[in-house]
Amino acid sequence: MIQNFISMNGYGFFVWLSFAITFLACGMLYYKTYKTLKKYEKDFAKELDQLSEAERKLVLEKSKVASQFLASYNKSI
């Protein structure tokens, strides 16, 4: 039964390869996107951290995204 499932009545090579290529390609795009996002998050957090107290206060007041980002980033680490 398992052998039948793997061989797919002679079409196993084509079926399994199609699914494997699809999930491998999706996995690779996910990994690349995730890595890039984390890199930008880390760099942005580092840049915010390097600002003086007054500068950071000004940035967080003026940029809603920066304040939301910092809140979620601090929660995640």
Binding site: M8, Y11, V15, L48, K64, V65, S72
Partner: protein, 235 residues
């Protein structure tokens, strides 16, 4: 209405949506794969090779839908000059390219056992290849042109020109005598596919759409952070 896509308004939602999709994705994937590879019956003519349809068809649909979305957003962006739309189209493009390429590759893997050939210069297959070229040009425009405004304009123009190819792909099987079979699923309710195959197909489509949403949100978030990082010095 366009304020709804303002990064400051949706930044928090992006994180929540990413977490939500992550929490349900693997359960849905396992269910969809069980239906596609185990529970759905083999086709009476094509046998088990029909299972390739469960990755091929959703990939082709997503490739087409992504480009249509990019082109329509490009038109809106051209008319209303909304820069955020360019961030969205830029984020959709790699997803669309991936799925267009997957549709071509899995189609080739399906073609060999059913038609006896990996490739044919058939209207449907060739027009899908043209679509992938439009995607590549769109992505290259953003990568190679340094001036962002100019890059957006060129990329939008490529998307709008490429929109002509979408009806060609859709109706190629009706307009020309092609090796590719005509559509089995029609929106007017005259679909010729059996429900036992339609269910796994829809499940796989749902899973791949969730994956697309996940990548789009992650890419959009990256773009927002990249811009805010650049603007930090100006503040």
């Amino acid at each position: 209405m366009f304020d709804l896509i303002n990064p400051s308004r949706i930044f928090n939602w992006i994180e929540k949506l990413i977490n939500f999709i992550n929490s349900i994705f693997f359960i849905l994937l396992i269910i969809a794969l069980t239906f596609a590879l185990v529970l759905s019956p083999p086709d009476y003519l094509q046998g088990d090779s029909v299972r390739i349809m469960y990755v091929h068809v959703p990939s082709a649909w997503i490739g087409l839908a992504s480009f249509t979305a990019i082109a329509l957003l490009s038109i809106i962006s051209f008319i209303f000059k909304i820069k955020n739309l360019n961030l969205i189209t830029k984020s959709i493009a790699p997803i669309g390219l991936l799925f267009t390429c997957l549709a071509i590759i899995t189609g080739s893997l399906w073609g060999q056992p059913t038609w006896g050939t990996w490739w044919a210069w058939d209207a449907r297959i060739t027009s899908m290849l043209v679509l992938s070229i439009f995607y590549i040009l769109f992505i290259l425009a953003h990568k190679l042109i340094d001036n962002k405004d100019r890059a957006n304009k060129v990329a939008n123009l490529i998307a709008i020109i490429g929109l002509i190819n979408i009806p060609v792909i859709r109706y190629s099987v009706d307009w020309w005598n092609t090796l590719h079979q005509p559509s089995s699923i029609k929106l007017d309710g005259t679909s010729s596919i059996h429900p036992s195959m339609l269910l796994p197909l829809m499940l796989m489509l749902l899973v791949l759409l969730l994956y697309c949403a996940l990548i789009l949100l992650m890419k959009y978030k990256t773009e927002i952070i990249r811009i805010k990082k650049k603007n930090i010095k100006r503040i």
